[in-house]
């Protein structure tokens, strides 16, 4: 089979991989050990395979790996700082928004992209941001609450005088 090189950054680390020109990004990321990128429907409907590509959520099951050449990919593995979870991850735990966990990685990444763009979203905006994610456990209420609470917490911290924050 013909192969080609793929250069990209994953979770801040430069990578160079050998891929087939017809490889799908989802397969390549999992082959390289990023198992937080879940294989769900593989038709762009469930959102479990979501990563941030240059800061924007995309379905990796619908992207050829070669399309990510030169891009920055963020998977759920790249969110925590060592043992310290990111505020969104903490909020999902605090709100019981994680049950089986299969949809969680993708949802948190989409939520991160939303909060990066819109730090103070309405519930409507949160629901829109999560519309591409299926969750069969939580009924969606808890993930939505978790995202809203993470946004409120972040804003509360930023509103404090610097010496207190």
């Amino acid at each position: 089979m013909k192969t080609m090189k793929l250069q990209l950054k994953v979770n801040g680390q430069p990578q160079q991989w050998t891929i087939a020109p017809g490889d799908v990004l989802l397969d390549v990321l999992r082959r390289e050990g990023y198992f937080g990128v879940k294989r769900g429907c593989e038709t762009g409907e469930c959102g479990a395979c979501t990563v941030l590509l240059n800061g924007k959520p995309v379905n990796t099951c619908l992207l050829f790996a070669a399309q990510a050449e030169g891009c920055e990919v963020l998977t759920i593995e790249g969110l925590a700082q060592g043992e310290k979870l990111a505020p969104l991850q903490e909020a999902f735990l605090d709100h019981g928004a994680v049950q089986c966990g299969f949809c969680t990685g993708g949802m948190i990444l989409s939520a991160k992209a939303l909060l990066d763009r819109q730090p103070n979203p309405s519930e409507e905006e949160v629901r829109e941001a999560l519309a591409g994610h299926f969750c069969r456990c939580t009924g969606y209420r808890k993930p939505v609450d978790a995202v809203l609470s993470a946004a409120r917490k972040k804003n509360a911290v930023e509103d404090l005088p610097e010496e207190v924050a």
């Binding site: 020109p21 799908v24 397969d27 924007k56 959520p57 379905n59 050829f64 591409g132």
Partner: protein, 286 residues
């Protein structure tokens, strides 16, 4: 994965893309985002040509027209101030309905048109806006009305580079609407209808456009229904007549999303809603 793919090209310009197309002699698929292509049942493709680096991502004014590059994403269309100011933001709303944010970050206008889906969400607003597509090959560049492009069965091997939207009617007596009905907020249309309307001072129809998708082999303009309305006062009777005429022009299928009969009823309802919304924008309550 696509096991037959031998090479993945990333042309940096349109001429380079055209040379790749020529070199691959009909064995290539053009990738303009690829959200449809990745799901294609036919996996025999031997070459992929990713045109998203070929300088075709833009939304510009040119004279009285608006020009949109083929690789402009749904997300970029949604957020464009130029398009927000065009026809009541009709295209922005259609782009925003085109799947989840994940899809809209990747899927493009050119892909949505060239893929030729009967349910393409951007086809109906573009038909209403009398849009054309620009097609180029190594020898020439030509502009074809979208209406003809979508019906086209024997188009030459070429690249769709731009969509051109001429200045539509504007002013207080105009209205626009995009009505999509899908099973969920992010699903493909069961039926979608776009409409544009201009009334005269006596609330008669001066100009009307109705386009319907997912209810025939290709998205189409309901020309007979538009003609029936011309010059007449827009009231509930006319609305029902227009709806009936639109339904006569449909050729829906039954699939997993809906039956043909349901699509006929839905097209009637959505046409009515679209024209009511248009009329409301034009200051006329039915």
């Amino acid at each position: 994965m696509f096991t037959n793919v031998e090479a993945f090209y990333r042309p940096g310009s349109v001429p380079e893309a055209l040379r790749s197309l020529q070199k691959t002699k009909g064995h290539a698929r053009v990738l303009a985002g690829g959200t449809d292509l990745a799901l294609a049942a036919d996996r025999s493709v031997r070459f992929l040509i990713d045109i998203t680096h070929a300088g075709l991502t833009y939304i510009r004014r040119r004279n009285q027209s608006i020009i949109i590059g083929a690789t402009t994403t749904m997300g970029e269309l949604e957020e464009s101030p130029i398009l927000e100011a065009l026809a009541g933001g009709l295209l922005c709303r259609a782009a925003a309905s085109c799947g989840s944010i994940e899809i809209r970050n990747v899927a493009t206008l050119g892909g949505n048109m060239a893929n030729g889906s009967p349910a393409a969400d951007l086809a109906t607003p573009l038909l209403v806006l009398d849009a054309s597509v620009v097609l180029v090959d190594l020898r020439k560049k030509r502009q074809l009305p979208l209406f003809d492009f979508l019906r086209g069965t024997d188009l030459p091997a070429c690249l769709l580079t731009e969509v051109v939207i001429p200045a539509p009617p504007s002013g207080k007596r105009c209205g626009w609407s995009f009505q999509k009905f899908g099973r969920t907020a992010v699903d493909i249309s069961v039926v979608n209808v776009a409409a544009g309307l201009e009334l005269d001072a006596r609330k008669r129809v001066k100009w009307m456009r109705i386009a319907v998708a997912a209810a025939a082999p290709v998205p189409f303009r309901a020309v007979a229904a538009e003609e029936l309305a011309a010059g007449r006062a827009l009231d509930r009777t006319l609305l029902a007549e227009i709806g009936d005429e639109v339904v006569r022009e449909l050729r829906p299928i039954t699939d997993q999303r809906a039956s043909a009969e349901y699509r006929r009823k839905l097209a009637h309802v959505l046409t009515g809603r679209a024209l009511e919304e248009c009329a409301a924008h034009a200051g006329h309550t039915l």
